[in-house]
Amino acid sequence: MIYLDNAATTALRPEVFDTMIEYMRENYANPSSIYQKAGCAKVAMDVAREKIAKAISADHSNEIFFTGSGSESINWAIKSVVNNTTHGKHIITTKVEHPVVLRTCEFLEKQGFDVTYLPVDEFGMVDAQQVEEAILEGTILVAVMMANNEIGTIMPIAEIGEVIAKVNETRERSERILFFTDAIQAVGHIPVDVNALNVDMLALSGHKFYAPKGVGALYVRRGVKLMPLIHGGGQERGRRGGTENVSGIVGMGYAIDLAMAEMEAEITRQTELRDYLITQILEKIPHSRLNGHPIKRLPGNANITFDFIEGEGMLLMLDFNDIAASSGSACTSGSLDPSHVLLAVGLTHEQAHGSLRLSLGKDTTKQELDKLIEVLPNIVERLRQMSPLWEDYQRNSVT
């Protein structure tokens, strides 16, 4: 299979898997216990915590809290801020956030919070000035994603962080605006430095960088209060009870180490492949366009809209050719509406239905992309032959 859906999930690295197995088979002790074997598990988790902290340039490893997923990290961060805050009820976010952020914000709106959903430009970008202008006296939280999961656009997080820091200088310490970023698509793929970005909280997920599914983390800057998510044992410094997913955590620690070591070379390699892929597709297929920012985008993300056709059909035909990809069409989102991200960047509904996301990974080769480039024009052509919109377009362009 040609796997071009690395933004959905990545293949677990075999060497990571081998390490994980040790912590299930031999080193199965509960890290909270007292004997030596338990100590080993505890130490292995501490090491993983240090590795995650180092990967995002956190000052202290105890600013890292392990979770069960990126979604959990996001929920925890946002709900913790509103739960620990009494000085306001206003949240600022963007229209292109992952549904986890949007649904959490909508949930909070029902609880009486006000949420500003910032619009984005044609590339899916907000700028720091927009955030600055949206800040109210009662603003308690700004949540902006670092890199978009659908179109790959990288947001100016550092600039936004600076603006928020400036506003915070005029506020009492207890009334600071907290800045959260969903960096799930970014960590392990592009440099992330919590201090340079000026973020207070950051969510990440292991399975996006070749670690197992079922493990993520939340970074919480020292001094920022974190509400206990699961009351119970003393795990995660009393904030998230439950015996830890030791093997998953160890696996994530190992995987981030490997990702960091390869990052620079992978950025160069994937960016080249990505640009080759985009250029070839746009050249070979008429009425196609790139979604997202042409340069400020994730190295592995290509998102292209093909007019007059619907995305699910493309995915089924690609699958028939043993190529895995994804789309922003309603049919693949489990709802009747196409991607909110593509609508937010200004695409029409039918264009949003006809998008294809190709996300590259560390194992993606040029040959694989060439195979895609070979079959895709025929697939698009076949679907256009079936499409009444294409028929209309051709009829109108003839007369």
Partner: protein, 146 residues
């Protein structure tokens, strides 16, 4: 996710295309929701038998498959027999559809009715049991409320 039959009708759609002098054409759905189906019918005026049917569809695999199989289901039928085709019979003919895709089968039923209505309008006749098509996307609203 799809039955083998749905995949077969999607990958090898029967009766895809246009009928140049179709005397009944139905266009239903809307791009907002991601499905548009156009159905062409060639109906014998004397016997009221549907001689040929073709379709074009903008939509997902299920939308294409339901469009295609409904053309097969109407060919050779009289107008009145064609009116008996329901979303349920279309879904059954495809060995079922995932729950989220049931609205695609409603689209097929509507397209048949819409094409027959177009035929009746053109011929100035009244077809018993057939009313003017409603707003083409009402089934989506129904679906939303589920």
């Amino acid at each position: 996710m799809y039955s083998e039959k749905v995949m077969d009708y999607f990958m090898n759609p029967r009766n895809m295309g246009e009928i140049e002098n179709a005397n009944g054409v139905g266009l239903v759905g809307n791009a907002k929701c991601g499905d548009i189906m156009k159905l062409y019918l060639d109906i014998d005026d004397a016997t009221g038998i549907i001689r040929d049917a073709k379709f074009k569809t903008f939509g997902c695999g299920a939308a294409v498959a339901t469009s295609s199989i409904s053309t097969e289901m109407v060919i050779g039928k009289t107008i009145h027999e064609a009116l008996d085709i329901t979303n349920r019979s279309v879904t059954e003919a495809l060995d079922g559809l995932p729950p989220l895709k049931i609205h695609c089968s409603l689209l097929a039923e509507e397209a048949i009715r819409s094409a027959l209505w177009d035929y009746a309008q053109k011929k100035g006749i009244k077809i018993e049991g057939l009313q003017a098509p409603e707003s083409t996307d009402h089934h989506h609203h129904l679906n939303d409320e589920e």
